[in-house]
Amino acid sequence: MSAGVLQITGLTKRYGGAVALDDVSLDIPRDCYVSLLGPSGSGKTVLLRVIAGFEEPDAGTIEFAGRPIVAAPVYNRGIGFVFQNFALFPHLSVEENVAFGLKNRAGATLGKSEIRDRVRAMIELVGLAGLEARGVHQISGGQRQRVALARTLVTEPPLVLLDEPLGALDANLRTRIRAELRMIRERLGVTFLHVTGSESEALAIGDRVIVLDRGRVVQFDDPDTLFERPASARVARFLNCYNLFGGAVAGASFQSDAGEFPLPRGPCPPRGFYGVRYDRIAVAPRAEKSGADQVSLTAAFVASEFTGPSLLSFFKLASGQIVEVETPLGDRAPPQYELGEAYALSWRRDGARVFA
């Protein structure tokens, strides 16, 4: 028996002619926060719904806590689900919502006082103490999110699926609740499988990250590995932090429209994209000489964006392609660049990668 909480083998789902899931196989570990990342249309919500049982696959097996469940109906699976729109029961109070599963689920039920104690404890854990009697229309979005979470966690599922749970919240609420989700999960020791379309969210919140693209799993790693070594140019593009130059390897360098770059150490595919991360590029006046193992490119300054902790600047190459540079600021003031002036962009030779 595997150590993971969920094993998926060969999961395939088609809608008419389109393939939503293409032979997906995964082993989800226990007591882990897993984010499921992918562009829209990648199949991540479909995968979640198939695991939960709301939809059935055309082929494949799912094993959960040692049991095959692919033929089991939703209410027999014992997997928790948090919806993007929360799906709270509008006719019940906060406390009744949280208690609903314990009170109504099939099988042996607990005594009334036991249920009440567990519900109260969970409400306190998610930070909703004092709101038990409120109706769901009388609380804010963030509070509804917590009710949805509490409602499913109180039934003690070993695995909880979260379908873009932060999507309906305001931006600053999102970052706060992210941290709370991690804390709650760690406290309870269950596995969260959290679907998101935001790469920053997936990297911030997950202990492991699954990247799904067009119905296939293209990468399953921890966040820094994903950030450092994306599996392909598509993944790198999706992470939105790599400058990519298309071309092919010729001898010891990479030929592209933007110029010729010396190959970094390690195996390289014969053709594809030469990528260098935004935050690995240094900007200097054109005249400055670059170091021995530095790669350099000349580009004209176009525009910049001040984000607070860093400055994003955009430079245009002779070929017309835009290169983005992220300069973290710390104690320094943001550098000022002249519009249209040429600057030297440089990075360490081995700091770049070639992707297929």
């Binding site: 939960a52 209410y75 919806f83 729109n85 709270l88 006719h91 599963g101 689920r105 409120r134 009388q138």
Partner: protein, 281 residues
């Protein structure tokens, strides 16, 4: 401005139409205060009195004018309306629930159900009477007429429930299943409470339609008459203002019921709005 003129013109037209709509009721209300028992159901008003209202309740000295044959007919109409309301609402909810998924032949079934409200009462009443005669079945308000009342009101209940389910967010049902609750229990505890206002309006609709139903019932109710049939019976005989008094009372009764319903709705909406508080997470 051009559209301003049009707005006023249309508004005036609408006001005229409203007068047109209320004219018969106004007339019959006025005439219900005709003096009796000699006063007839036409102008001029001989003298104003509440004689006919008293006549309805049997509080007047006996005269040659028979009281309206309404007591037992009223009871029958009410019972029939309740029976119809229950059956057609159950059928309507079941059918609308079925229509939440796509299935083969859905279009055909849809039109079959809608057909029920599109066939004029005379025709289906005739057909049912013929059917009953041929197979030797007796015609009663609680069998043949009842069947037709359901045929007529089931499509209305169905359409109301279809509209309700259209706006129904199914994710609450999925949430319930994911918590380990069986579909049957989910329907009881989640779906039904949420669609209940719709069910209530379907029931109200069905009741109203059945209570006033007349052309379908004409050939199929057998010897015991429902209220509309009893009233129709007085058509060919002399009419007296007591029927107008009856009309006024029943209208006021319906009006009172709906006013109570509206007030209750407004109160509950206002209560919910007052308690809504926006807070920080």
């Amino acid at each position: 401005m051009e559209s301003r003129l049009i707005k006023w013109a249309l508004g005036g037209f609408t006001a005229l139409i409203v007068v047109f709509l209320y004219a018969p009721f106004a007339v019959l209300a006025i005439l219900s205060f005709q003096t009796g028992p000699e006063g007839g159901p036409q102008f001029p008003i001989v003298a104003w009195s509440v004689y006919w209202y008293k006549h309805l309740f049997g509080l007047t000295p006996p005269s040659r004018i028979a009281p309206l044959p309404i007591e037992s007919a009223l009871a029958r109409s009410l019972t029939l309306a309740v029976m119809t309301m229950i059956v057609s609402t159950v059928l309507g909810v079941m059918a609308a629930q079925a229509f939440r998924t796509r299935f083969k032949g859905a279009g055909l079934v849809f039109y079959l159900i809608i057909l029920g409200m599109m066939v004029p009462g005379v025709l289906i009443g005739l057909g049912m009477a013929l059917l009953a005669n041929t197979i030797g079945l007796d015609r009663h308000w609680w069998s043949t007429a009842f069947a037709l009342h359901v045929v007529y009101t089931f499509p209305f209940a169905f359409l109301v429930m279809l509209a309700i389910f259209n706006r129904f967010d199914a994710s609450v049902e999925e949430a319930s299943w994911s918590l380990g609750v069986s579909p049957a229990r989910t329907f009881r505890k989640v779906t039904f409470p949420l669609i209940f206002p719709g069910v209530l309006s379907a029931m109200l609709f069905a009741f109203t339609l059945s209570y006033d139903e007349f052309s379908r019932t004409l050939f199929t109710s057998g010897r015991e008459l429902t209220l509309p049939l009893a009233i129709y019976g007085t058509f060919s005989v002399e009419i007296h203002p007591n029927i107008f008094a009856f009309g006024v009372l029943t209208t006021l009764f319906s009006f009172a019921l709906l006013a109570i319903y509206a007030i209750l709705m407004a109160l509950s909406v206002r209560r919910a709005r007052r308690l809504m508080i926006q807070e920080e997470a």
